[in-house]
């Protein structure tokens, strides 16, 4: 397996949707390729860091204001 072929299956590998046979081939490639190992690990880390950090908080005061505005208009038939 080449690095390009590995890369094409990167998402499937991370999402756990590859067939067992393909997974074995991907793991074999990883065993001998430091570059793809770094790509896989740092891509996983990229997702993890975005998942664990809320970039756009909706402050409580804004939430309440929006809720009130929406509900008031719903009650008036929009």
């Amino acid at each position: 397996m080449t690095c390009t072929e590995f890369l094409a299956l990167l998402d499937e590998l991370m999402d756990g949707t590859v067939a067992a046979e393909t997974r074995t081939q991907l793991e074999e490639h990883l065993g001998g390729c430091a570059h793809c190992t770094v790509t896989l690990n740092t891509t996983r880390k990229t997702i993890e860091v975005y998942r664990s950090n809320e970039l756009y908080e909706l402050p409580k005061s804004v939430r309440e204001r929006l809720h009130q505005a929406i509900v008031a208009r719903c009650k008036n038939g929009c």
Partner: protein
């Protein structure tokens, strides 16, 4: 597709009852749906519009539009899927207004090879985010994702941040499943490449 709403044998998605009550005039039931999804809608709107005021307007308008059309909601998809679709359209409309004359669309495929082949192959520090304060880190993450085209940002957020399936994401954005897959791979790799500038492990002597 009509079985999507059913989460198990005879088990209904909790939104179905809330939507039914809201259609019957129970505004409190609709308020429960607002509380449940407003933060996600705000996040999606903010990622697309890159503008706080616009994102707040999108939250308001998307819920109002959903309420107005609630009786047209067929229930052949999840309420949240339907709501996100409305919010994405509202967000794009606002983005277009701010960028007059510029084409803005989720389905425009960006001709770019950037990030499709990893270039920065240095490994990252074991816990790279710990080298930054919470504020600095959030700033880096925002700046990094803002560099991506809107259609890539929103696919990444729906799939990887919200944890939705490829099929749901495709339905929300009106894209094909292969289009979502291709964008997700490119978004992940481009973000990885860009974050490497901040997170790569420093060589001895490097500042």
């Amino acid at each position: 597709m009509s079985t999507i709403q059913v989460t198990g044998e005879g088990e209904q998605h909790p939104d179905v009852a809330l939507v039914a009550s809201a259609v019957a005039g129970d505004v409190q039931a609709f308020e429960k749906l607002i509380r449940k999804y407003d933060r996600q809608i705000f996040r999606i709107a903010q990622h697309i519009t890159q503008n706080r005021e616009d994102a707040e307007d999108v939250v308001q308008d998307a819920f109002l539009k959903a309420y107005e059309k609630l009786d047209q909601f067929q229930g052949n998809s999840k309420f949240y899927t339907w709501l996100v679709r409305i919010a994405v359209n509202e967000s794009l409309m606002r983005l277009r207004k701010r960028r007059t004359g510029k084409m803005v669309s989720i389905d425009e495929d960006i001709e770019t090879d950037e990030g499709s082949v990893p270039r920065d192959l240095a490994d990252w520090s074991p816990n790279p985010e710990q080298n930054y304060s919470q504020t600095e880190l959030a700033k880096i993450l925002r700046k990094t994702i803002q560099g991506l085209p809107p259609g890539f940002r929103v696919v990444f957020v729906l799939r990887d941040v919200d944890g939705l399936s490829t099929e749901e994401t495709a339905e929300m954005l009106g894209l094909s499943v292969p289009a979502v897959k291709s964008r997700l791979l490119r978004a992940r790799l481009q973000l990885r490449e860009r974050l490497s500038r901040y997170f790569r492990s420093k060589k001895a002597g490097e500042k």
